[in-house]
């Protein structure tokens, strides 16, 4: 330690005393309030960070996990792409998915007999035939054996009809194919 009579030390003390006397300290309650606010802010930031981490981790895990084998897509797509010679063997499992489209084509040709307004009209507005044909299909089931025979015949004639029949979303391509076939 240095000697107490050091002039530099006394100068430092004078300067510090000057600042100390002129200082207007903030009340302790305000410091405590600011401290609490900072603490709350930090806790909230931590909570938000944790939520984001959990949500991001969940999303990443959902993306990284292998997709479940979809039952419809593998069942529908192979049947029209297969060669016509293998069709009779494979028609047994995919008949439920392939027949409705062929029925819709049948519905287009036999519209007057069934009298269905939405499914039978091939020139109808695009938004309506999306769901109505599927709902009106069950009544046609008794005649499914004939339609299956016809679809097989169409599958043998060309692949375009088969691909059109394999697409369940649109019924327009099969309708055109049926109109062109004769």
């Amino acid at each position: 330690m240095s000697e107490p009579r050091d002039p530099l030390r006394s100068l430092f003390r004078q300067a510090a005393d000057f600042g100390q006397d002129r200082a207007e300290p903030v009340p302790a309650a305000r410091i405590a309030e600011r401290g609490r606010r900072a603490h709350r802010r930090r806790v909230a930031a931590l909570a938000v960070t944790a939520c984001l981490a959990v949500a991001g981790g969940g999303a990443a895990a959902a993306n990284l996990l292998p997709d479940r084998p979809g039952p419809t897509i593998p069942a529908v797509t192979p049947s029209p792409r297969t060669s016509p010679a293998e069709l009779p063997e494979r028609t047994a499992p995919p008949t439920p998915s392939s027949t409705p489209t062929s029925r819709s084509t049948e519905g287009a040709s036999t519209a007057p007999t069934t009298g269905e307004p939405s499914g039978g009209d091939p020139t109808g507005p695009p938004p309506s035939p999306g769901g109505t044909p599927s709902t009106t299909r069950p009544p046609d089931r008794p005649g499914s054996t004939e339609t299956e025979g016809e679809t097989e015949g169409e599958g043998g004639n060309g692949a375009g009809a088969g691909t059109g029949g394999g697409d369940p979303e649109t019924s327009a391509p099969p309708a055109t194919s049926t109109t062109e076939a004769p």
Binding site: D6, G19, P25, I31, R34
Partner: protein, 175 residues
Amino acid sequence: MKQEIREWLLTVEEFEEFYAQTVARLTGQLYVMLGDLHEAQDVVAEAYVKGWTRRAQLDREGQPEAWIRTVAWRLAVSRWRFRRRSAEAWRRGTPPPAHVEAPGPEHLVLVDALRGLPAQQRRSLTLHYLCDLTVEQVAVETGLSASTVKTHLVRGRAALADRLHDPRIEEAPDV
């Protein structure tokens, strides 16, 4: 549970007591280090706010005053850096607004002389001559080696003697 709450409340009370006892002294010390009273008050208050959220840490380390002083100094340094970057940005763009400090009553001779010294020299001098810390303690608080602190003290003392035109300062080496 009740005991924990009581300890928590007691800690808050202790902190408030510690604040009341030390805030003026620390403001004076930071004023000497920084040369600006308002700046010293701001950084000391900010350091106490940071200390409030870390009361357990303050108590554990056993030197709460040194902790507050170090945090306040670091806050002041970061503010300097921010201001310097802003000034550089101003200089690059439009000409900066004319800023001339009016000489106030707080412009003491020593503080004016200290302003011309490098920041670490100023800090080392203040810790040694005002806070009565030894060279080793100053080295611990500043994170410098003891020889560097000694060099700061010798050079700072010589520079102050030159600026204050007081040969007694240079003749009284105590480092």
